[in-house]
């Protein structure tokens, strides 16, 4: 810790000091992962914040120049690799936009600074951020990030498809409530899409279109059958064999019913988005943010006439209707000097103001991070965001555990083997148990 430097910086920022500081220049680098063209405000807001900070400094009679260098990755694997390796080599960025689930691994390896040491969470605009989002970015009692967006993951239903199998408008409108109460289950959904295929409303194999690649979405199905990802008390991961097997069986049944093909996984995303927009699928699930992609990039205009949306239904009486939220956060890295870290933290705080965050939320289809943001006109006028916000009370985030990523990879590998028919659900669960024991050792409770 170079406290002298820190003090110098603190002294400069001190209000009312008569010391005229020398012109200061900083270069702050920002990297964002999993960022599509609609999500440019993750980076641009930091740029806007830099402008604000420069103006504030000018008003206080100081000369401050902040250059922002930004880079984004559309995928996660590339981004996480680059962050990890650059962090090890000591030439990474100052600010990261990443999933909250990266916090455990990166904080343990010393890649991050706890941002809680650089900000007051009880001053505006951070004070209006929802408390449960602060919980998501807290690990080991320290705050490691500032929530950047929120989301829900949604089950989407084709309204023309449902009408083709005889559903009335009232029944369709009633579906979200029925799903939420657990009355309408995943297996009811399978029956419905099978019927759609039989009626010819959708092509064979297009009835059900799950996420085509590995992702946090699949935890939802584990939860639908009563699975729990981690143990509240000890923080260990939980493998609920019955729930896992029921979840695997559900997808095996979906393949058997012919509503999704056995080689569906690995479908290119652009094909998937294209099919959604063309109305080819009966039921599909994705993120609330996909709405922005469909309407902004693919020019889908009649979303609300064509699509009904609900929580992910319960699978059986053990589980519940649920949704996973995967908030991203601004993280402060261990790179650079303390002064730079302080400036970076200031930028993050400014970028989290309701107005700036609303740019991101509305353009990319993400949900508000704070209570004031809901009142920003741009946000308040967006029908989709207010509809999707209704899912948040039933949404949970994956727990912050170092091994949760490995668990997810192994779980997905097991799902793949069941899906492609190379293993029965029972075998896959036993394989998963063996693999998890090997991979995470005693950080696991098997039920």
């Amino acid at each position: 810790m170079t406290n002298t430097k820190l003090l110098a910086a603190a002294a400069v920022i001190l209000a009312g000091t008569t010391v005229t500081a020398a012109a200061e220049e900083y270069t702050i680098t920002v990297w964002a992962g999993g960022t599509n063209p609609t999500e440019n405000y993750r980076l641009d807001n930091i740029e806007l914040a830099a402008d604000l900070l420069e103006r504030e400094a000018a008003i206080n009679g100081e000369e401050l120049t902040i250059n922002i260098e930004k880079q984004s990755w559309s995928g996660w694997d590339d981004f996480r690799q680059a962050v990890t390796l650059a962090g090890e080599a000591g030439n990474g960025p100052n600010i990261l936009v990443a999933g909250h689930d990266d916090i455990p691994t990166w904080s343990k390896s010393g890649l991050l600074r706890p941002i809680g040491d650089y900000i007051y969470t009880d001053t505006y605009p951070l004070s209006q951020i929802y408390p449960n989002l602060w919980d998501v970015v807290t690990y080991n009692g320290q705050i490691w990030g500032v929530p950047q967006d929120a989301e829900a993951r949604v089950m989407y239903w084709s309204i023309p498809g449902l009408k083709a199998i005889g559903w009335s408008d009232a029944e369709i409108a009633d579906l979200p409530a029925k799903v939420k109460s657990g009355e309408f289950t995943l297996y009811d959904m399978l029956d419905a899409v099978k019927k759609m295929q039989d009626e010819g409303a959708v092509a064979a194999g297009d009835g059900f279109a799950p996420r085509p690649s590995n992702g946090g979405d699949y935890w939802q199905f584990y939860q639908s059958f009563g699975g729990e990802i981690a143990d509240e008390e000890s923080g260990k991961l939980v493998l609920d064999k019955q729930a896992m097997q029921d979840f695997y069986t559900f997808f095996a049944d979906a393949v058997d019913d012919g509503v999704v093909s056995s080689t569906y996984l690995g479908l290119p995303w652009d094909t998937w988005h294209g099919s959604v927009v063309e109305g080819k699928y009966g039921v599909w699930h994705g993120g609330s943010w996909h709405y922005a992609q469909w309407t902004r990039q693919n020019g889908m205009t009649d979303f609300f006439d064509k699509v009904q949306y609900t929580l992910i239904p319960a699978g059986n009486e053990n589980g519940r209707a649920n949704s996973i939220t995967h908030p991203l956060a601004y993280l402060l890295t261990a790179q650079g000097s303390e002064d730079e870290a302080e400036i970076a933290a200031e930028l993050i705080a400014r970028a989290s103001s309701p107005e700036l965050n609303a740019f991101h939320a509305v353009k990319s289809g993400h949900l508000a991070i704070g209570e004031d943001e809901v009142n920003v006109p741009l946000y308040a006028n967006d029908r989709w965001l207010s509809e999707a916000s209704a899912f948040l009370p039933d949404a949970n985030a994956t727990p912050n555990n170092v091994n949760v990523g490995i668990f997810q990879n192994d779980m997905f590998a097991g799902l793949e083997s069941v899906w492609t028919g190379t293993a029965t659900p029972e075998q896959a669960v036993n394989d998963l148990e063996a693999k998890l024991h090997a991979d995470v050792g005693d950080d696991l409770i098997v039920r």
Partner: protein
């Protein structure tokens, strides 16, 4: 060859075997100048719009910066490989020294050795030396990985130089070093040209090393630039644009290949012909 064989069936058979390659490359060129409606096999209209990226950076970003980076990367690799191979190859071919056969054997092992498996270890070296995420770092790595083949090829060319040249030089009282510089080097110019072209092609096409070991945007090479253009998780990527950039990227390779075709043939044999 002999006349009592009909050539026509052979040509037909070869054309059939080669069909996938011919189709892929013909369409690569064709698609960049035309539009094909979805579901159709043949293009219907001629257009130059896919080539606009050359002058309009709003389409795919500035393509000239990655081009320059690729040029720098491939040229540096070429220079390093040529310089080091020319001395190393001579030492192994002509100079008496201890462990010579051991060195040669080791070189052969490395030449056959799957270097990509070492990526993690290589990252560590770059990390310790502060060369991770620098152009210098990936140039050195790429050069080192091309080197076993380079040395082996140069050794082959030196082997073919008649001993009498050196004998004459040494008898005139010149040192071995002078003999090498003045008399031997001019003899192996064809080797230089072939290996130079080869090393350049290798550097120009390299993708994995820059992507993993130098991921920052400051010196994105063309291969990585091209790969980001085709990111499949964006909802609407333009395939014809991708092909146009791809063709632009491949043109230098094709030109080099056409110019040095015969010389390169030897090298693509894996340098086993010495």
């Amino acid at each position: 060859m002999t006349k009592n064989f009909a050539m026509f069936p052979i040509i037909v058979l070869l054309t059939l075997l080669t069909a996938p390659i011919i189709i892929m490359y013909v369409y690569l060129v064709l698609d960049t100048f035309s539009n094909t409606p979805p579901g159709a096999l043949f293009p219907t209209s001629f257009t130059l719009e896919h080539w606009r990226f050359l002058i309009d950076p709003s389409i795919a970003g500035n393509v000239w910066i990655p081009t320059l980076n690729s040029l720098i990367f491939a040229s540096c690799c070429t220079v390093i490989v040529l310089t080091i191979s020319s001395t190393g190859g001579y030492a192994l071919s002509r100079l008496n020294m201890p462990f010579r056969s051991f060195f040669l054997g080791g070189l052969m092992v490395l030449h056959a050795f799957p270097a990509v498996t070492l990526l993690i270890g290589i990252f560590l070296i770059l990390n310790f030396s502060g060369l991770y995420n620098t152009l210098t770092g990936i140039v050195l790595v790429k050069a080192a990985l091309t080197l076993p083949l380079g040395v082996w090829i140069m050794k082959g060319f030196y082997d073919a130089v008649p001993w009498e040249i050196e004998m004459a030089g040494v008898q005139d009282g010149a040192s071995r070093f002078t003999v090498w510089r003045r008399l031997v080097l001019p003899q192996i110019r064809p080797g230089f040209v072939a290996l130079g072209a080869f090393a350049f092609l290798e550097g120009w096409g390299e993708y994995l090393l820059p992507r993993v070991l130098a991921p920052s945007a400051d010196f994105r090479v063309l291969s990585v630039f091209l790969a980001t253009l085709s990111a499949p998780d964006t909802a609407n990527y333009d395939f014809s644009l991708f092909q146009a950039v791809g063709l632009f990227y491949t043109l230098p390779v094709l030109l080099l290949f056409l110019i040095f075709q015969n010389r390169l043939m030897n090298i693509f044999n894996g340098g086993t012909k010495g």
